[in-house]
């Protein structure tokens, strides 16, 4: 079936199979592989995107369901060649190791700071508890969130 998706401000017309997830369509149809597939059941947060400004796991949204909605992926956060402050902070603090969880965590952190610009440690932990990371033990991810929170978004 043909659907139209609005992703990172661009309109894409694409042909999908009815059962395809938004994640699959982003990665394999639209050439946006930044959102990662790590569990396919909404447990790990690696595929986090914003759907009309709301944080969702794109593996749990059908591509067809996203028609008519605004999708923002990790590829859409940097603007005019400038990294988003959350991206900058993750790179600086050593919050990235293998990096497979990073796009999802960056989208989730951007969403947290958009709603709560100055979160305390408990709020950071709770907000990111749906994003699994196997490499870092999270310490430097918390550093990144605190660093980004201190900078203008």
């Amino acid at each position: 079936m043909k659907i139209t998706l609005r992703v990172n401000g661009d309109v894409h017309e694409t042909d999908v199979w009815e059962g395809e997830s938004l994640l699959f369509a982003l990665r394999e149809r639209l050439g946006l592989p930044g959102s990662k597939n790590a569990c396919e059941q909404g447990e790990c947060g690696s595929c986090s995107v914003l759907l009309d400004g709301e944080l969702v796991c794109s593996c749990l949204v059908l591509a067809a369901q996203a028609e008519g909605h605004d999708v923002v992926t990790v590829e859409g956060l940097a603007s005019d060649g400038q990294l988003h402050p959350v991206q900058q902070a993750f790179a600086e603090t050593g919050a990235v190791q293998c990096g497979f969880c990073t796009p999802g965590l960056i989208v989730a952190t951007a969403d947290l700071l958009a709603h709560n610009p100055d979160p305390n440690d408990d709020e950071i932990r709770e907000a990111l508890s749906g994003n699994l990371c196997r490499c870092t033990g999270y310490a430097k991810i918390f550093d990144a969130v605190r660093l980004a929170a201190g900078r203008p978004l």
Partner: protein, 748 residues
């Protein structure tokens, strides 16, 4: 062929980070990783690409009567369905022993064993076709209890691990057995404590599932872009199975989403290449999470009987240990895990006498192999429980007891190897013990900072605090005579403005640990220029780097790159316009263990050692058995930190994996069938589970290593399981002899 070469190179060509040895430098691949542009193996794409899928056994042990692929072949979009009959070359492969079939022929030995392959235009078409492959199985009695396996019919009649210099053990299903006799194994002490300890099967649970892209080269060969830990040994296993010469198979490192030992063995490499060569099309394979859980090896489950005999003053006199490891269906790296479990069974303590028996068995459980800290994790959990038990029995402070027995240079290990070089066990113990434990937080407090968290299960009632301590150690690099050398190739030429330009080739696998930065830091330091690039990792163009495992790659890659840079620079300075040198670095030679006595047949069985000590504070709701780890402090012997930010990252991440094994992580099986192959049912620590980790780096340079480095990845994982459980024991008074600790074990 439209190969995504731009994507394949990303993260290796961006050379913006200019630090030298000893400086904290931003990861070279940090920017592409935060923008989403970094290409992992699962992100690869080639024009005309098909999707591969693996059909796996639903049985732990069965005879294959018949495989009918006719219906699957007729499904829409399907281009190939392959079985064991289609394997072009050798039918088996293996890291150390070639005992694992590429595709099962007449028998499957574990749940999830690969039986057939499909290539189709859409991954869903491949999955649906796979469901139409009719495999008739005749189920067999599975061997699932390692305590009985040595009395059951052999799973490998040909005994693949015999004749490799191991101890002769005629019992069926013995993969390897080691006996270490040190001093007088019957020596008596004035006091004795003993226990039986068990560890469940842990999974590496890296976030990026197994993936790769195989591209036929139109001349009968194949290029494989894959997430792996050891490019050259992949090639050495893949080429014979494809019936090709090594040069016809080129393995290229793609973006790796974590490894932790789970990518040492092959996953899709042969399968993807078979499909690609058969269809003459590029074939991509990406495992689902469920397939990932069954598609790679796990940490060996263990049962350990241990007795410590000591003087009343607390000096160890004799340690007696019997260790049983479940190797699962195929050998993988079980022989090395068995050796580690045996060699480190006593811990970093001086003891004159020991008797250590360690046996690893084949079974129809999931195959086990390398995982961070392999073998040492299991032993550390047991010897540290024993040290706490001994301290309690003697009424000695547990830290004092460990200091009293701490191993130092000049002492002798149970294998007969004398400790030489750097071994600051006492120093790490002291430094960890000096870290200030935080005061208990006042009540009432946000439930998120209490056991049970947002579940709001307590406001502080029934919560008990415990402080635990543990020490662990492990070897750096491969052991027992294995020469795991690393090659590096350095090209130098005069660039614009007459400046020196360098290009480094090294097949060291960047798996997230940061070896790319290490290589570039070394090259900049040695060449004295910032104009250095690292070429993409590949088997083409440079010899083996060895594996990204055993905490070895910082040492080995630094050694090789330094050697090649120095020789290249000398040639350049002698006037050569274009320099191209390749050098191979070897670590100090090791020797095997005597198969009968377990004593080293030369100076050393291991290259060098790393140790770590850890202090942990927990809150336990003893009414419900819920736990919150409050704080972790650790001191780790790192030799020399080449990139301190990355070293801290390794310690924090490694600690989290050990905490996971202590509290929640276990691959569960029933009659050999995995019952929790998902992130819903196999839990790993989240942001809510991890406390702050305060880490002290003990930098005592290793005299034989480049820049004095050691490894850093494994010691935090070795010690943290033991340390967390030590704290749980302090909070509850329970013995807690099995990990992961269950709620019922803790609750009143």
């Amino acid at each position: 062929m439209n190969l995504p070469s731009n994507r394949l190179l990303q993260g290796r060509e961006s050379q913006l980070e200019l630090g030298r040895v000893g400086e904290s430098v931003r990861r070279v691949d940090a920017i592409p990783k935060v923008t989403g542009e970094f290409a992992y193996a699962s992100d690869l794409f080639a024009a005309g690409m098909l999707w591969g899928h693996t059909v796996r056994s639903p049985h732990a042990h069965a005879r294959i009567v018949e495989i009918d692929i006719s219906q699957a072949l007729a499904m829409p979009g399907v281009h190939a369905v392959l079985t064991h009959d289609d394997v072009p070359g050798a039918r088996t492969y293996g890291l150390e022993f070639s005992d694992q079939p590429v595709l099962a022929s007449d028998r499957v030995r574990y749940f999830g064993e690969a039986v057939a392959l499909v290539a189709a235009e859409h991954p869903e078409q491949a999955r649906r076709a796979a469901e139409r492959i009719a495999v008739e199985y005749e189920p067999l009695e599975p061997v699932v209890d390692p305590e009985r396996a040595a009395e059951q019919p052999p799973l490998h009649e040909e005994n693949p691990t015999a004749g490799h210099g191991f101890r002769d053990d005629p019992r069926p299903n013995v993969l390897r057995s080691i006996v270490i006799r040190h001093g007088d194994p019957d020596a008596e002490g004035e006091i004795s404590v003993s226990g039986v300890y068990e560890l469940g099967m842990q999974d590496q649970a890296f976030l990026g599932p197994e993936s790769g892209l195989a591209v036929p080269d139109a001349e009968g060969g194949v290029d494989i872009y894959v997430a792996t830990q050891w490019l050259h040994v992949d090639r050495d296993q893949v080429a014979p199975c494809l019936g090709l010469e090594k040069e016809q198979v080129r393995i290229h490192l793609s973006g790796v989403g974590g490894a932790f030992g789970g990518r040492e063995d092959l996953s899709m490499q042969v399968h993807g290449a078979m499909l690609a060569l058969h269809t003459s099309r590029p074939v991509k394979m990406v495992y689902s999470r469920e397939e990932s859980f069954v598609g790679h090896v796990h940490r060996h489950p263990a049962k350990i009987w241990m007795e410590h005999r000591a003087t009343k003053a607390g000096r160890l006199v004799n340690v007696r240990a019997r260790i049983l490891l479940d190797g699962g269906a195929y050998a993988s790296s079980s022989a090395a895990v068995t050796s580690n479990a045996a060699c480190f069974a006593v811990g970093p303590y001086q003891v004159e006498n020991a008797l250590i028996e360690c046996t690893c068995l084949y079974s129809n459980n999931p195959p086990c192999g390398a995982m961070r800290g392999f073998g040492a994790v299991q032993s550390c959990f047991a010897h540290e429980a024993q040290m706490d038990k001994l301290a309690a029995e003697l009424g000695i402070d547990p830290v004092e007891l460990r200091l009293l027995n701490a191993l130092s240079p000049g002492d002798t290990l149970p294998t007969g190897q004398k400790v030489a070089g750097s071994f600051p066990a006492a120093e790490v113990i002291r430094r960890a013990a000096e870290l200030r434990v935080p005061e208990p937080e006042e009540l009432p407090r946000d439930p998120i900072r209490l056991p049970g968290g947002a579940g709001n299960t307590t406001h502080g009632q029934g919560v008990k605090r415990g402080v635990g301590f543990a020490v662990g150690f492990k070897n750096v690099c491969y052991s027992e005579g294995f020469d795991d050398s690393t090659a590096a190739r350095v090209k130098l030429w005069k660039g614009a403005d007459d400046e020196l330009v360098g290009e480094v080739h090294c097949a060291a696998c960047e798996v997230g640990q940061g070896v790319t930065n290490v290589i570039l830091q070394v090259a900049r330091t040695e060449l004295g220029t910032e104009n250095v690039a690292l070429a993409p990792g590949s088997t083409a163009g440079v010899d083996s780097a060895g594996s990204a495992s055993a905490s070895r790659l910082t040492w080995m890659a630094a050694g090789a790159v330094r050697l090649a840079c120095r020789d290249a620079l000398a040639e350049y300075q002698a006037g050569r316009q274009v320099v191209d040198v390749e050098r191979t670095y070897h670590h100090p030679r090791t020797a095997p263990l005597d198969p009968e006595t377990g004593q080293v047949k030369g100076d050393r069985v291991h290259v060098a050692y790393m140790c770590a000590a850890m202090r942990v504070v927990v809150d336990v709701d003893v009414e419900l058995g819920l736990t919150r780890v409050v704080w972790i402090g650790t001191a780790q012997d790192v030799g020399k930190a080449l990139n301190p930010q990355a070293v801290h990252g390794q310690i924090e991440g490694g600690t989290a994996q050990g905490l996971g094994l202590a509290l929640m992580e276990e691959i569960q099986t029933r009659d050999g069938l995995i019952t929790n192959a998902s992130f819903t049912d196999y839990l790993i620590p989240t942001t809510l589970d991890m406390p702050p980790v305060e880490a002290e780096l003990v930098e005592e340079e290793e005299p034989e290593a480049p820049y004095g480095v050691k490894g850093v990845g494994e010691p935090p994982t070795v010690v943290s399981t033991a340390a967390v459980v030590s704290a749980l024991r302090a909070a509850t008074g329970r013995e807690l002899a099995r990990v992961p600790v269950r709620l019922d074990d803790l609750a009143l």
